[in-house]
Symmetry: C2
Subunit: 368 residues, 2 copies
């Protein structure tokens, strides 16, 4: 099954919604604002100051973060317009997400934005692991916190014979055999290359792209489960295994469930971009967001502290993973699962520091 | 209040939904298919065979009719491609409706379509009485069964002193004083001119537009309430007045309610198009759809018979008008209102023939 058939962030605006639980994603957007603005300016200049500047934001979801890229784009273009005395272009923002996203909610939020921001906005539903826009129709593409989601669970792990390979786990785990990591890594390479190919076709030559996604820090390279989101899947699996031992969850269902989620290293991304060939890397770096005020030393740029407790973290993880978990385990276990998850996380936090590394890649479409 | 804040066709897929009750709109689309196809072919040729053919469908709503224009466009372009041996362009369909439309439902229906039709589809929420698309970004624009909705109730009828001018009526009625017709007619001229101006800016020079809307037939020119949709508002008002006499509805609310709906004559449309100046009329004609198998003799083209009973008609009118009626009278009276409406309509049908005139205008963007 393809991820696009089930995956979506939690809809609405209540306390379980993604809109109310996307602080980490917001921090990621704030931290990458200057790279994004530089890239938009570069795109505007190197595509010869188009009359309409078309911008695609892929995996836009719904909430306070959704229109940040749009305002950044408007600001960036305005700076260039003033600096170089160029006529102000029209700005066309195109917001993409999977068909299961809450587009009614998104569309309701646009009216207020359009009153205070001079731009055209359209909505493009579909998987970004395929073409979304006409050829050479965009000048800048952005995607944040989305590309860790794979198009599907690696085929090797869907195989009936192989389901037990990753027994009692939901993703790559410390105890997963190497073939699990290999299957995930291959799927990422396939998906990411396809993503690059499609975006290369959609961008005007000289157009730019900025991607922000969870990545592994250098020390994690050999152990992709040790920190960051890998840990969240690990603790979720633990909560499920506990529930299975009490007969609340069918153990076989845990064996059959693997999340279509992968956290690549910077090297894997670089390799894929260079091999695919549509883009040149202008910059690639990573930064750490650390929770509970602890500082992770292993960073490229400065670590950002984010005060967040286990309950808040549990809500965030629920807002992001619930659609996938419901499709495997049904709705009835979710409340219980996240109560247990929250306790396990609190226990973990009391003993460990915890952080999340984010990569930001700025690249430019090669002129063929 | 602007119509865009409340107006939408009934959402969902149940027996009260627009999707299940849009047969008349479907007939209108079938009857205008050949004009639409000619216009798409003309647009494709006269904009010098663009690599991407961009098409806007304004007031797309949701249901079996929503993607008919997209398939027509794909077919028409394919015909020209074969005839003139031109490379097949990419086709970009942009579906517009007011923000209250059921976009989640619409977006769910797109996935199946995209599997069998080679095109890009995006969704553009907003009022077409304003700019929706970047300048010169479309090659063909279409709108069917939408332009009878005005941007607002004519201001003269919103005036506190004037609310009693159209007492006990919901729209232009046989008993409305001439100033009511005048106020509606002026609002239509203002709205339609603004629509033309915006579309003129969005279309590439040489691009084409086809508009289909309810119109008055020649004999109705002096009496815009006599047939067609005017009659539906008349009977709806009658049902409400009956309910007011029984104390179920507040009579004052009926006086305060006027629908933002107008049925122009062909002459009014021609005049507005010529005065605004962005477009040249390639063809303008009207045809009648008659219900209950009766034949309306006064037609430009042949009348089309449509077998439909009072109950079906009541469902259609409900699917289209419910959002406006709820905003004035509240949800609680709607079921009762349409039971009464259905009886009144049945009585009317037993004594009268009934029909609806539709105009179809094919125009071309002037080269400035």
């Amino acid at each position: 099954m393809k991820a696009e058939q089930v995956l979506h962030m939690n809809s609405g605006d209540d306390d379980k919604s993604y809109a109310q639980n996307s602080t980490i994603q917001n921090v990621r957007l704030s931290m990458t604002r200057s790279v994004r603005q530089s890239a938009i300016m570069e795109a505007y200049k190197s595509t010869s100051f188009p009359k309409t500047m078309s911008i695609g934001d892929l995996g836009c979801s719904l909430g306070p973060n959704t229109l940040l890229v749009a305002s950044d784009a408007i600001d960036a273009v305005e700076i260039v317009h003033k600096e170089l005395n160029q006529p102000l272009p029209e700005i066309h923002i195109q917001l993409n997400d999977l068909p299961g996203n809450d587009f009614n909610g998104l569309i309701n939020s646009l009216e207020g934005f359009k009153k205070t921001h001079r731009c055209f906005i359209s909505v493009v539903p579909g998987s970004f692991y395929g073409r979304l826009f006409p050829s050479h129709s965009l000048h800048f593409i952005h995607s944040s916190s989305s590309l860790n989601w794979l198009s599907q669970v690696p085929l090797d792990l869907q195989n009936e014979e192989n389901v037990k390979i990753n027994r009692g786990k939901l993703c790559i785990s410390k105890t997963s055999p190497p073939c699990v990591l290999e299957a995930y890594s291959k799927q990422f390479q396939r998906d990411f290359s396809l993503f690059l190919k499609c975006r290369g076709e959609e961008l005007v030559p000289g157009g730019c792209m900025v991607l922000t996604l969870l990545s592994r820090s250098t020390s994690e390279n050999s152990d992709p489960s040790s920190l960051g989101i890998g840990l969240q899947w690990e603790i979720l699996a633990q909560a499920l295994v506990d529930m299975a031992s009490e007969g609340i969850v069918d153990e076989k269902k845990i064996d059959l469930c693997n999340a279509p989620f992968y956290v690549p290293s910077l090297e894997e991304m670089k390799h894929a971009i260079e091999t695919e060939g549509s883009f040149s890397i202008k910059s690639i770096e990573s930064f750490d967001v650390t929770y509970n005020g602890t500082k992770v030393e292993d960073t490229v740029t400065t670590a950002l502290k984010l005060s967040i407790n286990a309950q808040q973290m549990a809500k965030m993880i629920r807002a992001v993973t619930e659609s996938i978990l419901v499709s495997h385990f049904g709705e009835e276990i979710i409340d219980e699962l996240f109560v247990r998850y929250s306790y396990l996380l609190e226990d973990y936090y009391s003993k460990n520091m915890h952080g999340c590394t984010t990569a930001v890649v700025f690249m430019k479409r090669n002129v063929p």
